[in-house]
């Protein structure tokens, strides 16, 4: 039918996303402490336990102590995790279980505004997770360069990328169980193949080829050198890949969610 074509029209973005973002913020404020703990504890313990425990058995990795190596990966992994969980589980609750989006759509707010708010909201939450790890890195004295400050805006981009990808999954999900596929087929492989725990160069070539296409690889290629005070060698490519995933992911999420809710 003709109306189906309209699902593909360009995003119509407006500042009306703001009250929706504020709604999520108000909910988060009530549950801030358990929510922060949940997001933080997991990556932090991985970094500390593996970094010091496993690291004490290892020689330097790429010329730096293992915990320092791990720190760059953990900032990205923590940001990815937090954005993904928010866009998937919390987003799905609001869209499908609580019907919060339906209520909002009856006000003068469009679905595009809601999706934009969810994108920014998941990125906001993941920003806190990324920053918390960065703070720990600074407190432990694992980074001494002013260049590391460039990681702050980068974490926003990384959060937007994984929030956008997560929202596409939410858009097609029939239930919470469906998210297992995304974790098993996308998130876990990325954690293992993109250089969080060891350099990608240790993988056989065919796995390296896969890794080169994954967004987390590009996030880590940016963050790890910056922590050491080096300019990332392929910064333009890395940024373009992350921005590309973010833009394509958001557009796909928009089309798929319009198809789901505005039919």
């Amino acid at each position: 039918m003709l109306s189906t074509l309209r699902f593909f029209r360009a995003p119509r973005l407006s500042p009306r996303f703001m009250p929706v973002w504020r709604r999520n913020f108000l909910v988060w404020r009530k549950l801030a402490i358990p929510s922060m703990l949940g997001n933080l504890a997991d990556p932090m313990f991985y970094m500390l336990a593996l970094g010091y425990g496993l690291g004490s058995l290892l020689p330097d990795v790429e010329g730096i102590p293992y915990i320092t190596f791990l720190a760059g990966g953990t900032v990205c992994y923590s940001t990815m995790n937090s954005a993904t969980f928010e866009a998937l589980y919390s987003g799905f609750s609001r869209m499908h279980v609580q019907r919060t989006w339906d209520a909002i759509l009856n006000a003068p707010i469009n679905l595009d505004d809601i999706l934009l708010a969810e994108l920014f909201w998941a990125a906001s939450k993941s920003f806190l997770s990324g920053m918390a790890i960065l703070l720990i890195i600074w407190v432990l004295g694992l980074s001494h360069s002013w260049l590391a400050l460039a990681i702050i805006p980068l974490v926003i981009l990384i959060g937007l990328t994984f929030a956008a990808l997560g929202l596409t999954i939410t858009a097609v999900s029939p239930s919470y169980d469906f998210f297992m596929y995304y974790f098993t087929l996308a998130i876990t492989p990325m954690v293992l193949l993109c250089g969080v725990f060891f350099p990608v160069s240790q993988l056989p070539p065919w796995l390296q080829d896969i890794s080169a296409w994954l967004p987390l690889t590009h996030a880590i290629e940016l963050v790890r050198p910056l922590l050491q005070g080096q300019i990332p060698p392929r910064a333009a490519l890395n940024l373009a890949v992350l921005a590309g995933y973010a833009a394509a992911g958001f557009y796909a999420a928009l089309v798929l969610t319009r198809r789901r809710l505005l039919k």
Binding site: V27, R99, A103, N106, P108
Partner: protein, 303 residues
């Protein structure tokens, strides 16, 4: 100019035409009801009028604005009570109203100023700090209704506003809706409760299979389609009675399950005949909207 006007509305889900050429015109201050069995296309029609889904054909104008093109501007002066409660379970009663007001871009102090009035309207003045999951079904419905008034709308859309409520709660909602009509608000509601439609609506349309099959004020629809008197007969041997005696005394007889519905201009002869029959019981009543509804949409179950 009508507050809501739709011409030739059509909507397909795949090959199924769920709205098949609907025309509506609701003048200011009217309570208009859309009646129909499940799956008749009522909710889809409301969604089309609000600009929540694009029509495959036809034109809609809401508060003088074209929909869906200017639906967002139109919705700024519209309130909606959805079929399924979607209050925010993470918030208190007060926060629900506050957050909803922000969706309309209302300044915080305007929302705060309206708050006491809305809480009172919902009968929840003492419960402003209560969590949503501690409220009864009737309280939730009243809060949803109050929430739809946060922007002081000119027109309210209510999708089955009293479905699932007990009689006390339904009467309370009706009383609230009447007071809104008293304030001059335009109401558009869907329902499949005939007493609700008869009680509230100035005018209504009966919808089936995506089409409007009858429209008019409730009393007029009854007199147009149904004989004024109804005798419902039930008991031992009702079918046999209806086939022989009943058919001769009533203008029209319908059998549904173990009951014969006899429609007549004058029911005196029918009743006289029934009084002599042991084993048969009857109920004599004036015709109502449900009779019209069942005559026009049939007695078959819809799923």
């Amino acid at each position: 100019m009508p507050v809501l006007e739709a011409r030739g509305l059509r909507k397909f889900y795949g090959a199924l035409e769920v709205v098949a050429g609907v025309d509506l015109a609701v003048p200011r201050g009217e309570c208009f009801g859309l009646l129909g069995p499940n799956g008749a296309g009522k909710t889809t029609t409301l969604r089309l009028c609000l600009g929540l889904t694009d029509p495959d054909g036809g034109e809609i104008s809401l508060l003088g604005l074209p929909v869906p093109a200017a639906a967002r501007r139109a919705r700024a002066k519209v309130g909606v009570v959805p079929q399924v409660d979607n209050l925010d379970p993470d918030f208190t009663v007060r926060e629900n109203l506050l957050v909803y007001g922000r969706y309309f871009d209302l300044p915080q102090r305007d929302i705060a100023a309206r708050m006491p009035e809305l809480l009172e309207f919902a009968g929840l003045t003492g419960r402003a700090g209560a969590k949503i999951n501690t409220l009864s079904g009737g309280m939730k419905r009243r809060l949803t209704l109050a929430r739809s008034l946060i922007n002081d709308p000119d027109v309210l859309f209510l999708d089955e506003p009293t479905t699932g409520l007990d009689p006390q709660a339904r009467h309370m909602i009706w009383e609230r809706l009447k007071s809104l009509m008293g304030q001059g608000k335009t109401l558009v509601l869907t329902t499949h409760f005939m007493d609700e439609a008869e009680r509230l609506c100035h005018r209504l349309s009966i919808m089936d299979h995506g089409r409007i099959i009858a429209s008019g004020p409730p009393r007029e629809l009854i007199s147009r389609y149904i004989e004024p008197q109804v005798v419902e007969v039930y008991g031992e041997g009702v079918r046999e009675w209806a086939g022989s005696q009943g058919a001769g005394l009533a203008e029209r007889t319908e059998i549904a399950g173990e009951t014969a519905f006899c429609y007549a201009r004058d029911a005196q002869a029918l009743i006289a005949g029934l009084n002599g029959r042991a084993g048969l019981r009857y109920l004599h009543r004036p015709a109502n909207l449900e009779d019209v509804f069942l005559k026009l949409t049939g007695r078959d179950i819809r799923d």
